[in-house]
Symmetry: C2
Subunit: 219 residues, 2 copies
DNA sequence: GTACGTTGACTGACTAGTCAATCTATTCAG
DNA sequence: CTGAATAGATTGACTAGTCAGTCAACGTAC
């Protein structure tokens, strides 16, 4: 995941990685459709043809970036789900992971959201299966919580999962396009907010609610 | 808004409208980038050049479609906000309007979401101001509710607005890409669900909650 | 006859992907 | 140790195709 592996001049640099990291920057800056393969090569400090030595097509560069990250996320969700935690805390962990992913590499998350996740027409189509898996995993957490009686049974779990994921993604979108204030304290607060908001509506009024984490201090 | 104004052969057809309606279908089917201007002209049963008689560019066709609809939505939100209603019902009206927009013309909403709203990199950039206005109007409803004491004050209104809008848009996305079940009863239920979920978390536990609408029957 | 609507072949600009040539690292026979 | 052979990495000029936008000509209503 690290983008700081090597500078362009480093002789030991793994050129494939160099190209991928450059592509993240170029895609984030110009968008996938608006940029040319030459821009990626230039950004990476590498010849045009080398991109085609490592990748079959421009598309494959984006595919690789998306899958690398998305699979890490799916893995994380599965691990969180396997742990013995109340549903609210599982969702908290997932929100945390996604927000931290943005904090760690905003360009990469911008590319994934703008060019893949929210572009199900063009690119997302290819990856609809992967994307769907995330929704399904979240939906399973909700279903389980409903069966335990922690969440209201009258809210369809699939819809709840979409609403939850959609709320998080929309906040990242807000940061990406300067519609929401950025910064450490906002990131931490957003993690709490999204869970508080969505779980607040999902939980059964009578259900035993675990002691909730403190409200992070306002910025 | 009506797409059924006239068949391609109708001599009285307003060609400009014919082109716009055809563009909705083509953009929805193939995506803005993947389709050619010739596809729009063919779909409208009109010569290639006529598209450029009515519109300065391919972009302007999409701009027109987006602005036509988005302005109706902004107007609706303003009208709802002006009415004397509890915040929850205002949000309910907004969710209703958006879901009904999808129900009424799914192709148009698909185009707006996929090509503009969620493509802030390319197209959305132009319309970021319009898009932002919607978030701000929703944010104002939340702020007012917090001042009245109906909503918790500790949740930033801008974030709450993004979460609310994001949840709705994600459900439309779910329908658009067959990730969620479609159909009248699901649409009605989704309107209720998103408000129940988000407002459930926003409302102050102690606050006087107006008698809420009945839960629509499950599908 | 004039103004506007309509046509569709054409052009000019652009770029993904190819490929033959060149470079570099490694190996190993002499 | 030498240097020739090999494989893989790297280069960038070039090709083949695409498509947005133009424009000169034609149609038609009044």
């Amino acid at each position: 995941m690290s983008a700081s592996r090597a500078a362009a001049g480093d002789p030991k640099a793994d050129k494939r990685r160099l190209i991928l990291d450059a592509a993240v920057r170029v895609f984030a800056r110009q968008g996938f459709h608006a940029c040319r393969v030459a821009d990626i090569a230039d950004e990476a400090g590498v010849a045009y043809g080398l991109v085609y030595h490592y990748f079959a097509s421009k598309d494959e560069v984006l595919d690789t970036l998306f899958l690398e990250r998305w699979n890490v996320m799916l893995q994380t969700i599965r691990e969180v789900d396997a742990r013995e935690l109340p549903a609210r805390e599982k969702l908290q962990e997932i929100a945390s992971f996604i927000v931290d992913s943005y904090r760690h590499d905003p360009d990469l998350m911008k590319v994934i959201i703008v060019e893949v996740t929210r572009a199900a027409n063009s690119f997302g189509q290819t990856h609809l299966g992967q994307i769907r898996q995330a929704y399904e995993l979240i939906g399973e957490i909700v279903t389980a919580a409903q069966q335990e009686g922690a969440f209201k049974p009258e809210i369809d779990a699939r819809f709840a999962a979409m609403a939850f994921y959609g709320a998080i993604e929309q906040m990242l979108t807000g940061w990406i396009f300067d519609l929401l204030p950025r910064g450490e304290e906002h990131y931490e607060r957003a993690k709490w907010l999204v869970v508080e908001t969505v779980c607040g509506g999902l939980e059964r009024p009578g259900a035993e609610v675990p002691a909730r984490a403190d409200v992070p201090a306002p910025g």
